[in-house]
Protein backbone atom coordinates (compact mmCIF):
# COMPACT_ATOMS: atom_id res chain seq x y z
CA UNK A 1 0.00 0.00 0.00
CA UNK A 2 0.93 3.55 -0.41
CA UNK A 3 2.73 4.67 2.61
CA UNK A 4 0.84 7.84 3.47
CA UNK A 5 3.14 10.19 5.30
CA UNK A 6 1.87 11.31 8.57
CA UNK A 7 2.15 15.06 8.03
CA UNK A 8 1.60 15.89 11.64
CA UNK A 9 4.57 13.86 12.73
CA UNK A 10 6.56 14.12 9.58
CA UNK A 11 10.25 14.01 10.02
CA UNK A 12 12.44 16.59 8.37
CA UNK A 13 13.56 14.09 5.82
CA UNK A 14 10.01 13.33 4.88
CA UNK A 15 9.15 16.99 4.52
CA UNK A 16 12.17 17.57 2.35
CA UNK A 17 11.32 14.57 0.22
CA UNK A 18 7.76 15.75 -0.29
CA UNK A 19 8.90 19.22 -1.13
CA UNK A 20 11.51 18.04 -3.58
CA UNK A 21 9.11 15.57 -5.17
CA UNK A 22 6.56 18.31 -5.56
CA UNK A 23 9.07 20.58 -7.21
CA UNK A 24 10.29 17.82 -9.46
CA UNK A 25 6.85 16.91 -10.72
CA UNK A 26 5.65 20.46 -11.12
CA UNK A 27 8.69 21.65 -12.98
CA UNK A 28 8.59 18.60 -15.18
CA UNK A 29 5.02 19.46 -16.09
CA UNK A 30 5.92 23.07 -16.64
CA UNK A 31 8.73 22.04 -18.90
CA UNK A 32 6.22 20.36 -21.11
CA UNK A 33 3.52 22.98 -20.96
CA UNK A 34 5.63 26.08 -21.48
CA UNK A 35 5.12 27.71 -24.81
CA UNK A 36 8.53 29.27 -24.84
CA UNK A 37 11.38 26.80 -25.23
CA UNK A 38 13.63 28.95 -23.14
CA UNK A 39 11.20 28.73 -20.28
CA UNK A 40 11.02 25.02 -20.75
CA UNK A 41 14.75 24.83 -20.50
CA UNK A 42 14.76 26.86 -17.33
CA UNK A 43 12.09 24.66 -15.76
CA UNK A 44 14.04 21.61 -16.78
CA UNK A 45 17.11 22.95 -15.05
CA UNK A 46 15.09 23.45 -11.91
CA UNK A 47 13.77 19.96 -12.25
CA UNK A 48 17.29 18.60 -12.56
CA UNK A 49 18.36 20.56 -9.51
CA UNK A 50 15.52 19.07 -7.53
CA UNK A 51 16.59 15.62 -8.64
CA UNK A 52 20.08 16.45 -7.50
CA UNK A 53 18.43 17.34 -4.22
CA UNK A 54 16.99 13.85 -4.07
CA UNK A 55 20.46 12.45 -4.62
CA UNK A 56 21.77 14.50 -1.77
CA UNK A 57 18.91 13.33 0.35
CA UNK A 58 19.94 9.79 -0.44
CA UNK A 59 23.43 10.73 0.63
CA UNK A 60 25.11 10.31 -2.71
CA UNK A 61 26.87 13.60 -2.93
CA UNK A 62 29.25 12.71 -5.70
CA UNK A 63 26.49 11.64 -7.97
CA UNK A 64 24.55 14.82 -7.22
CA UNK A 65 27.50 16.89 -8.23
CA UNK A 66 28.09 14.94 -11.36
CA UNK A 67 24.45 15.15 -12.18
CA UNK A 68 24.43 18.90 -11.91
CA UNK A 69 27.58 19.17 -13.97
CA UNK A 70 26.40 16.88 -16.69
CA UNK A 71 22.76 17.76 -16.94
CA UNK A 72 22.38 21.26 -15.73
CA UNK A 73 25.73 22.13 -17.09
CA UNK A 74 26.54 20.29 -20.25
CA UNK A 75 23.27 19.05 -21.58
CA UNK A 76 21.23 22.11 -20.76
CA UNK A 77 23.83 24.38 -22.25
CA UNK A 78 23.67 22.25 -25.36
CA UNK A 79 19.90 22.67 -25.47
CA UNK A 80 20.01 26.38 -24.90
CA UNK A 81 22.79 26.76 -27.42
CA UNK A 82 20.68 25.01 -30.00
CA UNK A 83 17.62 27.05 -29.17
CA UNK A 84 19.60 30.23 -29.56
CA UNK A 85 21.22 29.01 -32.70
CA UNK A 86 17.86 28.37 -34.27
CA UNK A 87 16.39 31.52 -32.87
CA UNK A 88 13.42 29.63 -31.57
CA UNK A 89 12.66 31.59 -28.49
CA UNK A 90 9.39 33.01 -29.69
CA UNK A 91 8.37 30.34 -32.08
CA UNK A 92 4.79 29.33 -31.58
CA UNK A 93 3.93 25.80 -32.23
CA UNK A 94 1.87 25.44 -35.31
CA UNK A 95 -1.57 23.95 -35.20
CA UNK A 96 -1.67 21.18 -32.66
CA UNK A 97 -4.74 19.09 -33.24
CA UNK A 98 -6.97 18.29 -30.34
CA UNK A 99 -6.84 14.60 -31.12
CA UNK A 100 -3.12 14.63 -30.47
CA UNK A 101 -3.56 16.21 -27.11
CA UNK A 102 -6.35 13.87 -26.24
CA UNK A 103 -4.25 10.91 -27.29
CA UNK A 104 -1.34 12.13 -25.23
CA UNK A 105 -3.51 12.61 -22.17
CA UNK A 106 -5.19 9.27 -22.57
CA UNK A 107 -1.95 7.40 -22.92
CA UNK A 108 -0.44 9.33 -20.03
CA UNK A 109 -3.31 8.39 -17.77
CA UNK A 110 -3.34 4.86 -19.00
CA UNK A 111 0.33 4.12 -18.52
CA UNK A 112 0.36 5.88 -15.19
CA UNK A 113 -2.64 3.96 -13.91
CA UNK A 114 -1.30 0.67 -15.16
CA UNK A 115 2.14 1.09 -13.66
CA UNK A 116 0.89 2.47 -10.36
CA UNK A 117 -1.70 -0.30 -10.06
CA UNK A 118 0.91 -2.94 -10.62
CA UNK A 119 3.20 -1.54 -8.01
CA UNK A 120 0.36 -1.13 -5.58
CA UNK A 121 -0.72 -4.68 -6.18
CA UNK A 122 2.76 -6.00 -5.66
CA UNK A 123 3.90 -7.48 -2.40
CA UNK A 124 4.73 -4.65 -0.04
CA UNK A 125 8.18 -4.48 1.38
CA UNK A 126 7.88 -5.29 5.03
CA UNK A 127 10.24 -4.69 7.79
CA UNK A 128 13.25 -2.54 8.18
CA UNK A 129 15.47 -1.63 5.31
CA UNK A 130 18.80 -3.08 6.17
CA UNK A 131 21.61 -0.78 6.65
CA UNK A 132 24.98 -2.43 6.63
CA UNK A 133 26.59 0.71 7.83
CA UNK A 134 29.35 0.13 5.34
CA UNK A 135 30.37 2.90 3.10
CA UNK A 136 29.01 2.10 -0.28
CA UNK A 137 28.67 5.43 -2.02
CA UNK A 138 31.66 7.53 -1.31
CA UNK A 139 33.83 8.66 -4.18
CA UNK A 140 36.41 6.15 -3.11
CA UNK A 141 34.11 3.19 -3.32
CA UNK A 142 32.51 4.38 -6.50
CA UNK A 143 35.86 4.91 -8.10
CA UNK A 144 36.91 1.44 -7.15
CA UNK A 145 33.87 -0.14 -8.58
CA UNK A 146 33.85 1.96 -11.70
CA UNK A 147 37.47 1.47 -12.59
CA UNK A 148 37.90 -2.04 -11.35
CA UNK A 149 34.77 -4.09 -11.51
CA UNK A 150 33.15 -1.99 -14.20
CA UNK A 151 36.28 -1.28 -16.14
CA UNK A 152 35.09 -2.85 -19.32
CA UNK A 153 31.82 -0.95 -19.47
CA UNK A 154 33.70 2.16 -18.57
CA UNK A 155 36.02 1.67 -21.52
CA UNK A 156 33.11 0.69 -23.63
CA UNK A 157 31.32 3.91 -22.77
CA UNK A 158 34.24 5.68 -24.34
CA UNK A 159 33.47 3.92 -27.56
CA UNK A 160 29.91 5.09 -27.19
CA UNK A 161 31.07 8.63 -26.87
CA UNK A 162 33.47 8.16 -29.73
CA UNK A 163 30.68 6.97 -31.92
CA UNK A 164 28.53 9.90 -30.89
CA UNK A 165 31.37 12.23 -31.65
CA UNK A 166 32.12 10.75 -35.05
CA UNK A 167 28.44 10.78 -35.76
CA UNK A 168 27.96 14.37 -34.85
CA UNK A 169 30.93 15.33 -36.95
CA UNK A 170 29.65 13.27 -39.80
CA UNK A 171 26.29 14.94 -39.62
CA UNK A 172 27.65 18.43 -39.54
CA UNK A 173 30.72 18.19 -41.70
CA UNK A 174 30.48 19.93 -45.01
CA UNK A 175 32.15 18.21 -47.87
CA UNK A 176 33.13 18.93 -51.38
CA UNK A 177 30.79 17.05 -53.56
CA UNK A 178 32.60 15.60 -56.49
CA UNK A 179 29.70 14.39 -58.46
Amino acid sequence: MIHIPDFAHATTVQVIFCFLAFITVITAFLTIFSRNPIHSAIYLVICFFSIAGHYLLLNSQFLAVVHIIVYSGAIMILFLFTIMLMNLNEQREVHRPRITRLGAIVSFCLILIVLITIFINSKPIVGEYDSTGEDFQSIKVLGKILLDEYMVPFEFASILLLVAMIGTVLLSKKEKLNK
Partner: protein
Protein backbone atom coordinates in the same frame (compact mmCIF):
# COMPACT_ATOMS: atom_id res chain seq x y z
CA UNK B 1 22.97 6.86 10.47
CA UNK B 2 20.21 4.46 9.50
CA UNK B 3 18.90 3.86 6.10
CA UNK B 4 17.06 6.88 4.88
CA UNK B 5 14.50 4.68 3.23
CA UNK B 6 13.20 3.84 6.66
CA UNK B 7 11.76 7.27 6.75
CA UNK B 8 10.56 7.59 3.18
CA UNK B 9 10.00 4.12 1.86
CA UNK B 10 11.17 2.71 -1.43
CA UNK B 11 7.61 2.70 -2.74
CA UNK B 12 7.48 6.44 -2.70
CA UNK B 13 10.60 6.64 -4.77
CA UNK B 14 9.13 4.18 -7.17
CA UNK B 15 5.95 6.19 -7.44
CA UNK B 16 7.84 9.37 -7.92
CA UNK B 17 9.93 7.82 -10.62
CA UNK B 18 6.92 6.33 -12.33
CA UNK B 19 5.14 9.65 -12.29
CA UNK B 20 8.17 11.40 -13.63
CA UNK B 21 8.69 8.74 -16.26
CA UNK B 22 5.08 9.03 -17.34
CA UNK B 23 5.38 12.80 -17.49
CA UNK B 24 8.30 12.22 -19.82
CA UNK B 25 6.20 9.94 -21.98
CA UNK B 26 3.41 12.46 -21.90
CA UNK B 27 5.76 15.17 -23.02
CA UNK B 28 6.97 13.13 -25.93
CA UNK B 29 3.42 12.53 -27.05
CA UNK B 30 2.09 15.97 -26.26
CA UNK B 31 4.61 18.32 -27.73
CA UNK B 32 5.48 18.82 -31.35
CA UNK B 33 8.59 20.87 -30.76
CA UNK B 34 11.51 18.52 -31.18
CA UNK B 35 13.59 20.25 -28.55
CA UNK B 36 10.90 19.87 -25.95
CA UNK B 37 10.51 16.26 -26.99
CA UNK B 38 14.21 15.77 -26.35
CA UNK B 39 13.79 17.37 -22.99
CA UNK B 40 10.93 15.01 -22.19
CA UNK B 41 13.16 12.09 -23.01
CA UNK B 42 15.73 13.52 -20.64
CA UNK B 43 13.06 13.64 -17.99
CA UNK B 44 12.36 9.97 -18.61
CA UNK B 45 16.01 9.09 -18.25
CA UNK B 46 16.33 11.15 -15.09
CA UNK B 47 13.33 9.46 -13.58
CA UNK B 48 15.12 6.18 -14.08
CA UNK B 49 18.36 7.57 -12.69
CA UNK B 50 16.55 8.66 -9.58
CA UNK B 51 15.16 5.19 -9.14
CA UNK B 52 18.61 3.69 -9.67
CA UNK B 53 19.95 5.73 -6.81
CA UNK B 54 17.00 4.83 -4.64
CA UNK B 55 17.50 1.16 -5.36
CA UNK B 56 21.21 1.56 -4.77
CA UNK B 57 20.44 2.80 -1.29
CA UNK B 58 17.84 0.11 -0.88
CA UNK B 59 20.37 -2.59 -1.62
CA UNK B 60 23.20 -0.68 0.02
CA UNK B 61 25.09 -1.31 -3.17
CA UNK B 62 27.11 1.07 -5.33
CA UNK B 63 26.49 -0.64 -8.66
CA UNK B 64 23.26 1.25 -9.15
CA UNK B 65 25.05 4.51 -8.87
CA UNK B 66 27.72 3.37 -11.22
CA UNK B 67 25.06 2.55 -13.71
CA UNK B 68 23.79 6.09 -13.42
CA UNK B 69 27.12 7.27 -14.78
CA UNK B 70 26.67 5.11 -17.83
CA UNK B 71 23.17 6.32 -18.16
CA UNK B 72 24.40 9.88 -18.10
CA UNK B 73 26.99 9.12 -20.71
CA UNK B 74 24.33 7.62 -22.89
CA UNK B 75 22.06 10.57 -22.36
CA UNK B 76 24.80 12.96 -23.30
CA UNK B 77 25.68 11.01 -26.42
CA UNK B 78 22.08 10.78 -27.44
CA UNK B 79 21.48 14.44 -26.98
CA UNK B 80 24.55 15.28 -28.99
CA UNK B 81 23.52 13.10 -31.90
CA UNK B 82 19.90 14.13 -31.65
CA UNK B 83 20.71 17.80 -31.73
CA UNK B 84 23.04 17.27 -34.65
CA UNK B 85 20.23 15.64 -36.57
CA UNK B 86 17.87 18.40 -35.50
CA UNK B 87 20.22 21.08 -36.71
CA UNK B 88 20.58 19.45 -40.04
CA UNK B 89 16.79 19.19 -40.34
CA UNK B 90 16.45 22.83 -39.38
CA UNK B 91 18.92 23.75 -42.06
CA UNK B 92 16.94 21.87 -44.63
CA UNK B 93 13.36 22.77 -43.82
CA UNK B 94 13.65 25.64 -41.39
CA UNK B 95 11.43 24.10 -38.79
CA UNK B 96 11.82 21.78 -35.88
CA UNK B 97 8.24 20.72 -35.53
CA UNK B 98 8.02 16.97 -35.79
CA UNK B 99 4.66 17.42 -37.48
CA UNK B 100 6.57 18.49 -40.53
CA UNK B 101 8.21 15.10 -40.71
CA UNK B 102 5.52 13.28 -42.62
CA UNK B 103 7.10 12.71 -45.96
CA UNK B 104 7.65 9.08 -45.22
CA UNK B 105 4.40 7.24 -44.83
CA UNK B 106 2.09 4.66 -46.33
Amino acid sequence: MGNILNQIGIENYIFLSVVLFCIGIFGVLYRRNAIIVFMSIEIMLNAVNLLFVAFSTYHQDAQGQVFVFFSMAVAAAEVAVGLAILVSIFRNIGSISIDNLKNLKG
